[in-house]
């Protein structure tokens, strides 16, 4: 049931790269769209097969591979992975659809995109630590090429920086995995096995620390984020959608699955600091975004801020906050993809991303009215305006976290205020105002160019109005995750206070 998600894109990508006959750009694009479209359909099938009430992993697949290393092909799906896999399939299709038709070496591009997608799907489904690590590392190379070949200015610098940071992140993660297995004396690297291990709290803290640095680079959290703005800005819109929409989720997914799952005692002990860290990330991301003059950099920094909410929800590890955090991962993926797509269209048509040069794009006849309208919508969604998906997920996180970490939560609420500030700046400078009569002879945005944005915007609105369709998939999984973590004494007192703080979903 799960394997096609990995193998469809992977084999499709390899075929696309190595088939002996010639393909035009259009043909390779259609092939890539077909393959990723099939993967997307398969994902929808998974939703229909998913058992909402089951607590553990479903649709397990197991095949011995290298038993000597403890590395087995072991897949499984729970609510958390389901959301991530769905995001991956959707955004891959969107990213491929939104790619520029005039690019160079299209076959190689689409092949790499499909490889990334297949690998990421595998990482989200892997039930074996080494398998996860393997797939995690595999992403790096195609992404390096995707950035360094098809990127914009300073792409070499950005690609190298990305590669180095992520490789180092991998080292930290591997160290943590190995430590957990060897110190715990587990027979192999299967997730279920490692889950049984009980390590002393001090050891757990060290291992969790390593993991936090490793995944913290990937998410990224604040001191480890400096690769992100350069990379997102240098990457082409399609690649940026994959990077920000999907790859960043590998970090938070890893932290929840492995950090929270494997080292519950350490997690309980460190959670107040994690919450502070999250708040710092949120505020830092927002304040830095305010200072930017390039709209893509703004969106990149907004991403740092928004991943902070996910961390806050994780740190609080109430059922509600975890559901919120998982949903926030999805909603951030959708909104960021929408923003990057729109910014890509603006750059393509107008030829600049600078706030002091853009103006008046809302003009109905000579501007980019639909793009501007969607930009306003996505800015509002990102800033947490009710009726859109961003509000739902942020509110779930805040509601779930406030009883545990009131101060940190309030700081994050301030962060959403600041998010509104920079999005209003962005929208005001780009969409409002009047066009420059000398320069404003922009090309038309065709309907096909708007399709990805229209799909994403529809999802953002629909899930904002009917949040249950987003939230209920991960309810059982968050319950399982929360049950694993011992609740520190200080929190029991806090949590037992008013019942209103933890409404049932």
């Amino acid at each position: 049931m799960l394997s096609p998600l990995i193998w469809l894109p992977t084999i499709g990508g390899l075929l696309l790269a190595f088939l002996p006959f010639k393909l035009t750009a259009q043909q390779s694009r259609i092939s890539a769209l077909t393959v990723s479209g099939l993967a997307l359909l398969w994902t929808i099938l998974l939703f229909t097969q998913f058992d909402l009430s089951a607590a553990g992993f479903q649709m397990r697949e197991f095949m011995p591979w290298l038993p000597m290393l403890g590395l087995n092909y072991d897949l499984g799906l729970d609510g958390l992975s389901l959301m991530m896999v769905a995001l991956n399939s959707l955004l891959t299709w969107i990213a491929i659809y939104g790619s520029r038709e005039t690019m160079e070496r299209p076959r190689f591009f689409y092949a790499l995109m499909l490889l990334v997608s297949g690998g990421v799907a595998g990482a989200f489904l892997a039930q074996n630590l080494l398998l996860f690590f393997l797939l995690f590392e595999i992403e790096l190379v195609p992404l390096y090429f995707l950035i360094s070949i098809w990127g914009g200015d300073k792409r070499d610098y950005a690609a190298t920086k990305f590669l180095l940071y992520t490789a180092i992140a991998g080292a930290f993660i591997l160290a943590s995995f190995l430590g957990a297995v060897w110190l715990g004396g587990s027979a192999d690297f299967s997730y279920d096995q490692v889950l049984q291990i009980e390590l002393p709290q001090s050891t757990q803290i060290v291992l969790l620390g390593l993991m936090l640095v490793g995944f913290g680079i990937k998410i990224p959290l604040v001191p480890f984020h400096t690769w992100l703005p350069d990379t997102y800005v240098a990457a082409s819109p399609s690649v940026a959608i994959m990077l920000g929409g999907v790859l960043a989720k590998l970090g938070t997914y890893g932290i929840f699955r492995f950090g929270l799952g494997l080292f519950p005692d350490a997690w309980a002990a460190l959670s107040p600091f994690l919450a502070v860290w999250a708040a710092v990330s949120v505020l830092y991301g927002s304040v830095t975004a305010i200072a930017q003059k390039d709209i893509k950099r703004m969106v990149a920094y907004s991403s740092i801020g928004h991943m902070g909410y996910v961390m806050l929800g994780g740190a609080a590890f109430t059922e509600l906050s975890l559901v919120g955090a998982i949903s926030q991962m999805v909603s951030h993926g959708l909104i960021l993809a929408l923003l990057f797509h729109l910014v890509g269209v603006v750059e393509d048509k107008v030829g600049t991303r600078q706030l002091d040069q853009l103006n008046g794009l809302m003009n109905p006849l000579r501007g980019l009215p639909v793009v501007s309208a969607l930009l306003v919508l996505s800015g509002m969604a990102s800033a947490g305006i009710p009726g859109l998906v961003g509000f739902i997920t942020e509110f779930l996180v805040f509601q779930g976290s406030y009883s545990v970490f009131p101060v940190q939560t309030l700081l994050c609420v301030v962060g959403t205020g600041l998010t509104a500030v920079y999005f209003v700046i962005l929208i005001n400078r780009t969409c409002f105002g009047r066009l420059d009569n000398q320069k404003a002879h922009y090309g038309k945005v065709s309907l096909t160019e708007q399709v990805p944005a229209l799909i994403l915007a529809t999802l953002v609105v629909v899930l904002g109005l009917q949040p249950n369709w987003l939230v209920h998939w991960s309810a059982a999984s968050s319950k399982t995750l929360v049950a694993a973590v011992p609740i520190p004494e200080t929190r029991i007192a806090l949590q037992s206070e008013p019942a209103v703080f933890s409404p049932k979903l």
Partner: protein
């Protein structure tokens, strides 16, 4: 011959628009003489003349028939009689035949009124409610600009304030509301309110009579161009100048018809004329001044964006920024939308080759309209020069100097950064 005399007698102008001034002195237009410009302006004259044919008929219908109706819900539903009303400058019955076509409403206008954009025969009311109609509001806005900028039409306004005008209005008001004690009571209580409305209606008549001339002029220019008899921009301007002089003396009046009886509110005997009481005030009010667009300027008194003095207003078509046409708060959109229905094919083809083709045609035709109005303004400037100063080939250098001073004064008004004179010199401004 003309240019030879000029270069021999006057040194080159040092004005920032010296090129334009030299062109005016040589008998040209502010608009450069290129085949593309000619095609654009003539095409747009045609597209402008058809809605204008409706504007003048409806303006007169409102001034003469709707009059003081307190709820004029159907003032844009003009009667058959006004559609058939012979234009005084077209057809066989013309006082002076400018256009060789028929004197009643233009066939394209009739077709549009019948079927509209939806291209289906529906009751008038449905076309109106679906906004499938001529935007009469634009014509009313032009009228209001003329009414409000009162300093530019002193003779006419003096009469509107005179005792005689009040008495004429009084008779018409009483006749109109005969048997309606409520309105008559109101009139007794607030006579000024009603008088002010009548003044406004006199301006409806004024503008209607102005456009009654312009519509056939534009139709004839379009026909001449189609026949290959109008080949340069200066010829187009010259035709306008001649047209202006030919009808300069046409009377401007305001007659009201109540129960089949005619009330002369402004009698023809007042001898108000087309050139001085309608054309020149119109050009000043609509081409130069009008009112600031709600979508471009802030009316906030503290912000001080709008001049305190009406003579400094510079929001007419010669200054307008056409790029935001189609957005909220940009009144010319109404006119552009009207002209869009009546574009000749050769202009549509032209627009499809530029910009976004069909998609931003409203803006492209707006810029063309701006070009054509620079040509009309050139005609007015040349006409004024002919009336007040000396011929262009005058051998006396002092006279030529006076002409130059006059031209420079006129062009000085386009030194403002908002003025589009510089833009229309360039063929890439579209």
């Amino acid at each position: 011959m003309t240019t030879a005399t000029l270069t021999a007698t006057l040194p080159p102008s040092t004005h920032e628009f010296s090129e334009v001034i030299h062109r005016l002195e040589a008998g040209g237009s502010m608009l450069p003489d290129t085949p593309d410009n000619l095609k654009q302006i003539i095409g747009i004259y045609k597209a402008y003349a058809v809605p204008m044919d409706f504007y003048w008929r409806d303006l007169l219908y409102i001034a003469e028939q709707v009059f003081l109706n307190p709820l004029p819900a159907f003032k844009y539903f003009i009667s058959e009689e006004y559609l058939d009303r012979p234009n005084a400058y077209a057809g066989d019955t013309a006082d002076l035949r400018i256009w060789r076509g028929e004197a009643d409403a233009h066939p394209e206008l009739r077709a549009f009124m019948e079927k509209g954009e939806v291209n289906r025969k529906l009751p008038k009311l449905l076309h109106h409610l679906w906004h499938d109609r001529v935007n009469m509001e634009f014509a009313e806005a032009c009228m209001e600009a003329m009414l409000w900028h009162e300093d530019i039409n002193p003779g006419f306004n003096a009469y509107l304030d005179s005792e005689e005008y009040k008495q004429n209005s009084d008779r018409a008001i009483r006749a109109y509301f005969k048997g309606n004690p409520a309105m008559l009571g109101l009139y007794k209580l607030f006579p000024e309110m009603f008088l002010e409305q009548v003044k406004k209606l006199s301006y409806y008549a004024n503008l209607g009579l102005f456009w009654e001339v312009m519509a056939p002029v534009f139709f004839e220019m379009s026909d001449l161009y189609d026949e290959g008899k109008m080949t340069t921009v200066p010829e187009a301007m010259e035709f306008l100048v001649n047209g202006i002089f030919a009808v300069a003396g046409r009377p401007i009046y305001h007659h009201v018809y109540i129960d089949g009886e005619c009330y002369e509110i402004i009698p023809k005997s007042q001898a108000f004329t087309w050139l001085y009481e309608a054309a020149l005030p119109y050009v000043e009010a609509v081409f130069y001044r009008t009112a600031p667009f709600r979508g471009t300027k802030s009316y906030n008194a503290q912000a001080g964006q709008i001049p305190a003095d009406q003579k400094d207003f510079h929001y007419g078509i010669l200054y307008a920024d056409v790029f935001p046409v189609g957005s909220a708060g940009i009144p010319p959109t109404l006119l552009m939308q009207d002209m869009l229905h009546f574009l000749p094919d050769y202009l549509v083809e032209e627009y499809q080759k530029h910009g976004r083709g069909e998609d931003d045609m409203l803006i492209q035709l707006g810029i063309t309209f701006q070009r054509s109005m620079y040509n009309v303004t050139s005609a007015v400037i040349q006409a004024l020069r002919t009336a007040l100063l000396y011929p262009l080939d005058d051998p006396n250098p002092e006279h030529l100097k006076a002409n130059r001073q006059f031209f420079e004064q006129q062009i000085d008004r386009f030194k403002r950064p908002e003025a589009r004179l510089r833009d229309v010199q360039d063929q890439s401004y579209r």
